[in-house]
């Protein structure tokens, strides 16, 4: 599936030479989010026209900008303006700015190739604030004559930003990381974890099956500890650590994950010991495995979060990664010892 929009200049509603110019990325979801944000609420509820993006426009030098129907809209957008779409290889503004594809060079070149200076009479561009890591406003001004005005972090705040004569502060300027956003990211953590966990479980099963002399029931019995450890780690590290992130103790994600892992491990062990006889060695193996693996999965959430720094994650990994690997290895050894003892 193609998630790219052609780069170039687009018309929003019926803009004229005085209309504001918005800069955005050519990731389709970003583009749609932007257009939805500047459309009236009524038009969103209206029946779709079925109008898709025109297949080609804007890219050719100096071509006239194309008017677009907002998907699902039966009314004109609330705001008339121009949308200057930069070629970010189909990547969102924040990530593309970090890579530099949403950057000064691309913006300056896109201003020239779209002949923006002859289409609008003013010299102002509204650039999303999260594009700032890639755009040097003073360089854009020097090279193109256009002044960059940083708009709000969230597209949904654009109408308010426009009515406040292009001023944003406080909440409009900050990136939060709320519960809903963390909840939406949980599948992104669980799916990759399962992709590793399922083959690992299959491998352990094969080993146990061989070691148990091809007895299925004995193999499954001996697998109880590692299978429960894997499942509990994923729940603790990839589901509940992201959800409970601000309330878990510690600053490093590994610390949060290992604490939650240890608590979940204790809970599971006490539940297990009701119906099963779990050796104390088996219980220690389980707790060690869950603490280490949940810490690893929690550490992987650093990339999805909006609160971590590269220096910080490097420091965390230097200390935590060896502990996670060592802890998992130690847990497996303890599990084997517990099996032999039993």
């Amino acid at each position: 599936m193609n998630y790219r929009v052609d780069a170039g200049l687009y018309a929003l509603g019926e803009p004229d030479a005085e209309s504001p110019v918005f800069v955005t990325a050519n990731y389709k979801l970003t583009f749609d989010l932007f257009r939805r944000a500047v459309s009236s609420v009524d038009s969103l509820r209206a029946a779709p026209l079925g109008g898709n993006l025109p297949s080609e426009h804007g890219e050719r030098e100096g071509e006239a900008p194309t008017a677009l129907p907002v998907e699902g809209a039966t009314r004109a957008p609330e705001i008339d303006g121009w949308i200057l779409v930069l070629d970010t290889l189909g990547i969102n503004v924040w990530c593309a700015a970090g890579k530099g594809t949403f950057g000064t060079d691309e913006l300056v070149e896109r201003i020239a190739s779209s002949r923006l200076a002859s289409i609008v009479s003013h010299r102002k561009l509204i650039v999303p604030q999260l594009g700032a890591p890639g755009i040097a406003a003073h360089d854009v001004k020097r090279r193109s004559g256009f002044q960059v005005v940083y708009g709000p972090v969230r597209a949904e705040d654009l109408p308010a930003f426009l009515t406040r004569s292009l001023k944003a502060e406080g909440r409009m300027r900050t990136k939060d990381f709320g519960f809903r956003e963390r909840l939406a990211l949980v599948p992104m953590e669980v799916v990759p974890a399962l992709k590793v966990a399922l083959p690992a479980a299959a491998g352990l099963f094969l080993l146990s099956f061989l070691a148990a002399g091809f007895s299925l029931s004995r193999a499954l019995d001996s697998l109880l500890i590692p299978l429960i450890a894997i499942g509990t780690s994923i729940l603790a590290g990839a589901v509940f650590t992201p959800l409970l992130l601000p309330w878990l103790p510690g600053r490093a994600f590994s610390v949060k994950g290992s604490i939650l892992g240890l608590l979940s491990g204790l809970l599971v062990t006490s539940l297990l010991s009701v119906g099963h006889s779990v050796s104390s060695m088996g219980a220690v193996a389980l707790l060690t495995l869950v603490s280490a693996m949940a810490a690893y999965l929690a550490m992987n959430f650093t990339g999805s979060s909006t609160v971590t720094s590269l220096s910080g994650v490097r420091k965390e990994m230097r200390i935590a990664l060896p502990l996670q690997i060592g802890g998992t290895a130690a847990g497996l050894v303890l599990w084997v010892i517990a099996l032999m003892g039993g």
Binding site: G98, I135, Y150, F177, R251, M299, T302, L310
Partner: protein
């Protein structure tokens, strides 16, 4: 809710007040309210909130703010260590936020 803070005293953000003209662009681009204006001068108010995105450095005309910009992503760092493509935020990656 106060924004979540990551590790203490680890970020590479540096500020030299001598070169700062107080234009305030950095205050507009920082998504984490790390900087503030106090008596007309810019100062680092909440250092541990910095995520090293590099927006302030890129937009400071005087070069008064510097930071080693990067993405705080453990899987990207691991891929890099394993010699795989270090790209985060690719279309096939999980990081679209």
């Amino acid at each position: 809710m106060r924004s979540m803070l990551y590790l203490k005293d680890v970020v590479t953000l540096a500020y030299s007040p001598e070169t700062c003209t107080g234009c305030g662009t950095c205050l507009q681009v920082c998504p984490r309210e790390v900087l503030r204006r106090s008596n007309g001068k810019i100062e680092i108010a909440l250092r541990d909130a910095c995520i090293e995105c590099g927006a302030c450095q890129r937009n400071c005309p005087q070069g008064a703010l510097t930071v080693k910009a990067g993405v705080g992503c453990a899987s990207a760092i691991m891929n890099q260590m394993l010699g795989r493509k270090a790209a985060c935020c690719g279309v096939d990656d999980n990081c679209l936020s």
